[in-house]
C-alpha cells in the first residue's frame, strides 16, 4: 500500500513538473521567437557535443571549458605508421587545434582522424569535402583502447585473485567471490549447458565467461561520468562478433556443415534453394550480434545525453530537476540494459556454438 502511494506521488510530481514546463513554454513563446536564432545555435551545439561524446578521441577529456579552453585532459599516446613508426603524446595537438611535429613530420587532426600535412597544417579537400592528404596508419592508444586495456587489466587481476582465493579456502568463495560465483554458475547452468549440451560445453566456457564479463564491465564503465563509449563503437562489437564467428566456424562438426549445405529430411530441390540461404545465415548471425550490441549502447548513450541536454534547453528552474529525474531513471534502466546485452550476446554465442558442436547422436 505504501509503495503504491509512493508511485502515485512520484507520478503526480512528474505530471506537475511536465505541466508547469508546458505552461512556461506557452507564456514564453514570443520571447522564444526572438531568440530562435540563438536557440538553433544551442541545438547544433548540443548535437555536436553528443556526437563528440559518442566518438572515439585521441585524448581523455574529463571536463573542458569552451570559452577559455581550461579543463582537465589526460593526453594519450599517438602511434602512427607512416613509412616509419611515429610515437608522441596527443598533447602535441593542443586538443586538435594545432599541428603536431614529430621527427620532421607534421600531423593534424581533422574530423577526429589524423592526416599528414605540411608545416602550416593545410588540409586539402576534394569536391566531396574529403581530405586528400595522406592518412597514416593509426594505431594510437585512443580513449576506447585505453578503456579496454583498463578493463582487461581489471578482469585479469580480479579473476586470477579470485581463482587463487578458491585454492586457499578449500573451494569456499570469500569476499568478492560470493558475488561472482552465482554469476559464473548462472552462465554454466543456464547458458552453456542447455544450449551446448553436457558433453561439449567445457571447451566453450572460458570464452563465454570472458565475453560476458568483458561486455558487462565495459558497459558499466560507459555509465560512469568518465564518458567512454566502448561498446557503442562498431569496431569493438565487430571484433567481438568476429571472435564468435571464428569459434563457431572452426569448432563446427560435420553435422553443422551438413545442416548448412545439405539440410537433411527435405526434398532435393528445396535443399538446393536452402543451401545459399543457410550459408548467408552464418554471416547474418554474427552481423546481428554486432549491430545489436552497438545500436543498444549507442541509443542508450544518445538518449541519456539528450535528456541531460534538456537542462540547457529549458532556460528555467524546471530543467535541472526534470533532466536529473529522467536521467536518474534512465541510468537505472541502462544498468539493466548493460547486463541484459552482455547476457544476450553470451546467450546467442552459446546458441551458435551449440549448433556447431552438435553431433548426430545428441538430442537436446
Amino acid at each position: 500500500m505504501y509503495r503504491i502511494n509512493l508511485i502515485k506521488t512520484i507520478t503526480l510530481l512528474f505530471l506537475v513538473i511536465t505541466f508547469s514546463v508546458s505552461a512556461q513554454h506557452d507564456s514564453s513563446t514570443e520571447i522564444q521567437a526572438e531568440n530562435s536564432h540563438a536557440e538553433t545555435d544551442l541545438k547544433t551545439e548540443i548535437k555536436e557535443d553528443i556526437k563528440h561524446h559518442l566518438q572515439d578521441s585521441h585524448e581523455f577529456t574529463l571536463f573542458r571549458s569552451k570559452t577559455d579552453g581550461s579543463g582537465f585532459t589526460i593526453p594519450l599516446p599517438v602511434i602512427l605508421w607512416d613509412s616509419s613508426l611515429q610515437i608522441f603524446m596527443s598533447s602535441k595537438f593542443q586538443h586538435g587545434e594545432e599541428v603536431a611535429e614529430n621527427n620532421g613530420n607534421y600531423y593534424k587532426i581533422y574530423h577526429n582522424k589524423i592526416y599528414k600535412t605540411d608545416a602550416e597544417g593545410v588540409i586539402e579537400l576534394d569536391e566531396h569535402e574529403h581530405p586528400t592528404n595522406v592518412k597514416p596508419l593509426d594505431l594510437s592508444i585512443t580513449k576506447s583502447v585505453a578503456a579496454i586495456l583498463f578493463i582487461a587489466i581489471l578482469m585479469l587481476w580480479l579473476f586470477t585473485s579470485l581463482a587463487k582465493s578458491y585454492g586457499k579456502n578449500n573451494g569456499i568463495p570469500t569476499g568478492v567471490g560470493r558475488f561472482f560465483e552465482p554469476l559464473v554458475l548462472f552462465i554454466r547452468d543456464e547458458i552453456a549447458i542447455p544450449n551446448i549440451g553436457e558433453k561439449h560445453y567445457k571447451k566453450y566456457m572460458n570464452y563465454l565467461l570472458t565475453i560476458f564479463f568483458f561486455i558487462w564491465f565495459v558497459n558499466l564503465l560507459g555509465l560512469t561520468p568518465l564518458g567512454v563509449n566502448v561498446t557503442g563503437n562498431i569496431a569493438v562489437t565487430f571484433a567481438l562478433a568476429i571472435l564468435t564467428y571464428l569459434i563457431t566456424t572452426f569448432t563446427a562438426k560435420k553435422e553443422y556443415w551438413k545442416h548448412v549445405f545439405w539440410m537433411p529430411g527435405i526434398p532435393i530441390p528445396m535443399k538446393i534453394i536452402l543451401a545459399p540461404i543457410e550459408l548467408f545465415g552464418t554471416f547474418i548471425k554474427p552481423f546481428s550480434l554486432m549491430i545489436r550490441l552497438y545500436a543498444n549502447m549507442l541509443a542508450g548513450h544518445t538518449v541519456l545525453m539528450s535528456i541531460l541536454a534538456l537542462m540547457f534547453i529549458f532556460k528555467s528552474w524546471v530543467g535541472g530537476p526534470l533532466s536529473f529525474g529522467l536521467a536518474f531513471v534512465l541510468s537505472i534502466l541502462e544498468l539493466l540494459v548493460a547486463v541484459l546485452q552482455a547476457y544476450i550476446f553470451t546467450m546467442l554465442s552459446a546458441l551458435y556454438f551449440g549448433s556447431a558442436a552438435e553431433e548426430h547422436e545428441d538430442h537436446h
Binding site: 543456464e190 550480434l289 549491430i291 545500436a295
Partner: protein, 63 residues
C-alpha cells in the same frame, strides 16, 4: 513527393513495438499457465525479442 526517412524510422519502431509486445504478452500468458517453466520461457522470450530488436536496429540505421 519524397517521404522523409524519419517516417520510415517511426514505422520500424511501431513494427518492432508490436512484435516485442506480442512476445512479452505471450510469455506472460505462458508463465501464468506454467509458472514452473519460468526460466525456459524467459530465455526463449529474450532470444526472440533480441532477434526482432536486431532487425529493427538494422532497419533504423538504413533509414
Amino acid at each position: 513527393m519524397e517521404i522523409p526517412g524519419i517516417v520510415g524510422a517511426g514505422l520500424i519502431v511501431i513494427g518492432a513495438g508490436i512484435g516485442i509486445g506480442r512476445i512479452g504478452g505471450s510469455a506472460m500468458d505462458a508463465i501464468a499457465r506454467q509458472p514452473e517453466a519460468f526460466g525456459k520461457i524467459q530465455t526463449a522470450m529474450l532470444i526472440a525479442a533480441a532477434l526482432i530488436e536486431g532487425i529493427a536496429f538494422a532497419a533504423l540505421f538504413a533509414s
